[in-house]
Symmetry: C2
Subunit: 351 residues, 2 copies
């Protein structure tokens, strides 16, 4: 019997819900505002209503297997409770999973949103032809997720994949995590803005200063990127720094895990054309494992592909590439999770 | 029927061979000099003779399952050939595994020596009560091995676990791997010696200078350690640097993999008492995942245990500890490898 699953991306701003079939086709999708201020119980009730409505609409597509819910925060995989979730106050130490499962009468899996995005890219996106990959999401912060042999690597307590807080420069800028010089301090949208403000304050970035002070325009990482592609040197230098940090990070990941593929997503990944050349320079210099496994031919990449990649699927080469699913990665990845559990229990039946 | 396996530690200097039973008991052990200069075929013949002899001696202990061979160098796990092995010239791109298997008439597994040591500690040593661990070996260089869910994590081409070449300080000393500021440049015996020579050259380390110039004494990392435990400040500062680098490395590993246990072995690990306090300071500061999973009570450790550990086996705490098996870790780990393959095929038979 054909079947489908529900994927939920529960952000601090938006609550997005999708029904996805086992081949990865999107059946239905709905976006609601997350009314965080009205409290946890309100949001859970609204989410469950929307899931039931979506499921009913899709009933012709078969059995509803369950729901996967991507949440910004750390999930203790032993208890399926949120440990820390600054954007969802009042949700920690509450049996979120059990409560939603009870209301839906179907299996529910909670997952960190960066891990869900990694699973989405691994299932249907840039890493669909490989078993093991790491996703790096460059947003307001830098998140990450590791997929090994097709499954999210959670580690001991579900906190694995925090690549954004790996140390790039031990004496670098302080991070709210307590460390100094984290990846997040060089490669997030927040870091791009900070570096831009520093450049403006130095008096050596007149175009950036003009852009920052323009009326009716919100100063953003995207604006810095626009100046960079127009050739403004101070703006280019900022993305050079982004690429430098990502090159060191990926060299570390390659040396440690020797995975097939590293996928870069999130808003800042749109600046690929300006940060990826210095990123690959740094990576080649810093990882002997990459040197031994880099694609043989360097070709001019099509948009969205690795500057070093030839044919990811056919060779044992380390591929660094852009994410393909955009903000839907987390939705698809979340929907995939109950399918995997379902397949496993089906296999147990057969055996 | 009871059985045993052969573990081989094929170093550039010594060839050590052991017969180990399935409970991890050592049945027999022999150490030969590795006559590398006499060429690959000579060494392989000698190894196979010694393995046969040892197996015959142990025949009362049951069936010989096979042999695991730990080799210094990178092994391509797809072909079981050596890719690079500076200490074993002429061994690369030769079917070492197939040739030994043919001569012994038993299954043979080739493994990188640092991975074999990790497996040894995971099976019988410091990490025997956990499923997932990372071993860091501080010797002439810094090696590493990652065990996930009881199995060595090889990555795509068998090159995973190169923790010694992760970047600690992007602008640090150059490494022969092509990178600058690798862990190996701060935490190996070679690095300790380099830092000692630098301190002597600065003119501010009179005791180190005296020790270095003493007749009949070879200047070594151990000598620097001896001065450090006697309270010599320049010598202590060197191990502070070792601890600093290891703290950054382990914070990265914890943030990325969230493993149960990190085991530090190799000759330099004997200096635990002087490098571990700054290592734990750095780790606590730099890893929020460690902060969330550190043992609750800090107790004064017994020799060989983590300065932060309480009871590794009973809690979901991140434990950093010293290796327990010394230079035998690689021998035991190598012997374990054919047993794992044997168990797997036995299970297949049953199913």
């Amino acid at each position: 019997m054909p079947s489908f699953a529900i994927g939920v991306d529960l952000g601090g701003t938006n609550l997005r819900i999708a029904a996805v079939d086992e081949q990865g086709a999107l059946l239905e999708k709905v976006t609601l505002g997350t009314q965080v201020a009205r409290g946890r119980d309100y949001v859970i009730a609204e989410m469950c209503d929307a899931i039931r409505e979506l499921s009913a609409k899709c009933s012709r597509a078969g059995r509803m297997i369950g729901a996967g819910i991507g949440v910004p925060g750390i999930i203790d995989q032993r208890t399926s409770m949120l440990r820390e979730s600054p954007n969802l106050p009042g949700w920690d130490n509450y049996p979120v999973r059990d409560e939603i499962e009870r209301r839906l009468g179907a299996p529910v899996i909670l997952e960190n949103d960066a891990n869900a995005a990694a699973m989405g890219e691994a299932w249907l996106g840039a890493a669909r032809d490989t078993d093991s990959m790491c996703m790096i999401t460059l947003g307001t912060g830098v998140g990450g997720g590791i997929v090994l042999d097709g499954k999210i690597w959670h580690g001991m307590t579900g906190m694995a994949g925090e690549v954004g807080h790996m140390t790039i420069d031990p004496d670098g800028p302080p991070c709210k995590c307590g460390n100094t010089g984290c990846v997040e301090q060089f490669a997030s949208a927040t870091a791009v803005m900070r570096m831009a403000r520093d450049a403006i304050a130095s008096g050596r970035a007149p175009q950036l200063a003009r852009a920052a002070n323009a009326p009716d325009v919100e100063f953003s990482a995207k604006l810095v990127y626009n100046l960079a592609i127009q050739g403004d040197q101070p703006a280019r230098d900022i993305f050079k720094r982004v690429g430098w940090a990502l090159g060191i990070l990926i060299a570390d990941l390659v040396n440690m895990l020797n995975l097939n593929m590293y996928v870069i997503g999130g808003g800042v990944s749109a600046a690929w054309s300006v940060f990826s050349p210095p990123m690959f320079d740094e990576l080649r210099k810093r990882s002997m494992v990459y040197g031994a496994t880099a694609p043989v031919q360097a070709v001019t990449p099509p948009t969205g592909a690795s500057a070093d990649a030839t044919s990811p699927a056919t060779s044992h080469a380390t591929v660094i590439t852009r994410a393909l699913l955009g903000s839907d990665a987390g939705l698809y990845g979340a929907a995939r999770l109950p399918m995997m559990t379902d397949e496993k229990s089906a296999n147990r039946h057969i055996a």
